[in-house]
């Protein structure tokens, strides 16, 4: 296999295996340096340029196997990657409700801060009593609820990319995010706010619940498309 093909095969396989692109760039560069060192050593032993190149390639071995090795080590190098069953199969069960509630409360805290000019509740109370203003507040509240779900899904997306785990585990995490989003509810009425979970999953749920349930798959799809584009641009660059 010619030198350029070896590096290109290695690079494409590493990308296919889900390695972060910055890591791929670095690994490919180092393997190319290594190949140059091997070639130089072979030439110093008296081999011709072409023979030295063949020997260097033979010493480096199969680029696909090398890529598998490199990707496996990358996975092992983070706690999330080493314990991917816990991180993407079990952690969402515990973390999704907590993260969602925290994100929503933080957003509400910020909203109250903005509307009340520094948490002055006497300025907010009249808003809740006015039906028109309250309907706008309700709309903002629903948007914030969706945003909190999107934030949780994005957190797991980022974790999966950094840990370079198999796409299957990313999908499991998104599935759990989606399931919990269908079960979680947040309600606001004048002067009252409540949130919680309901195990009562049925087809006649309010449309806001269904929208929430669709957010994690939408984040996954958007993440996939953006990643594909990034990969495309990356692969169009000259490797080394």
């Amino acid at each position: 296999m010619p030198e350029a093909d070896f590096i290109e095969t290695l690079r494409c396989r590493l990308v296919e295996l889900g390695c972060p692109l910055a890591q791929v760039r670095r690994l490919v560069r180092e393997v190319a340096d290594h190949r140059d060192d091997l070639k130089q050593a072979a030439e110093a032993e008296g081999l011709s340029g072409a023979a030295a190149e063949i020997q260097a390639m033979a010493q480096l071995g199969d680029p696909l196997a090398l890529a598998e090795d490199l990707a496996a080590t990358l996975r092992r190098s983070s706690w999330w990657g080493r314990h991917y069953v816990i991180t993407f199969g079990l952690l969402p069960v515990l973390a999704v409700p907590v993260l969602w509630a925290l994100a929503l409360l933080l957003e509400l805290f910020l909203l109250v801060g903005v509307l009340g000019h520094g948490w002055n509740l006497t300025k907010i109370r009249p808003m809740a009593d006015d039906p028109v203003t309250f309907s706008y507040l309700l709309m903002i509240f629903h948007l914030m609820d969706y945003l909190a779900v999107a934030f949780v899904a994005l957190a797991f997306h980022r974790l999966a990319r950094r840990a370079a785990v198999n796409r299957k585990w990313m999908m499991i995490a998104f599935g759990l995010c989606s399931f919990y989003s269908l079960l979680s509810w947040a309600s606001v009425e004048p002067h009252t706010f409540s949130l919680g979970f309901s195990a009562n999953l049925h087809f006649h749920m309010h449309y806001e619940q269904w929208i929430k349930g669709m957010i994690p798959p939408a984040v996954a799809a958007a993440g996939y498309v953006l990643h594909r584009r990034k990969v495309q641009r990356f692969l169009e660059q000259v490797p080394v």
């Binding site: 180092e30 290594h34 071995g61 080590t73 190098s77």
Partner: protein
């Protein structure tokens, strides 16, 4: 309770790399060559396989790396960190414990 040894046996490449980097900073090819020559060619890394180990050690903050140009060639040089030095001490003492145990057994039963 005494620890079992499989994790240590998996840690031999780590021990070798850390031991070499304790002497001076090196790049990947140099490490592979040193292991091959200093072990009398009885141990050797697959050529490209050193990099996952180095990146793993770097992620664990046991080594650090820097891209530098020396004699017209730009390469990633790796050096040991304080945490790497501690890890090397731990692995070395584990190595001595295991080898002395194995030697004792071999001496008693198979001499």
């Amino acid at each position: 309770m005494k620890k079992t040894n499989p994790s240590f046996l998996n840690g031999i490449p780590e021990l070798l790399v850390l031991r070499l980097l304790a002497v001076r900073e090196m790049y990947g090819y140099q490490i592979v060559e040193e292991i091959r020559t200093k072990t009398g060619e009885s141990l050797s890394f697959g050529e490209g396989c050193i990099y996952p180990y180095l990146h793993y050690l770097e992620a664990e903050k046991q080594v650090s790396s820097q891209r530098r140009e020396v004699a017209g060639r730009s390469r990633n040089y790796y050096k040991l960190t304080a945490r790497g030095r501690k890890r090397l001490e731990a692995l070395s003492s584990e190595w001595r414990r295991v080898t002395s145990g194995v030697s004792r057994l071999m001496g008693e039963q198979y001499a």
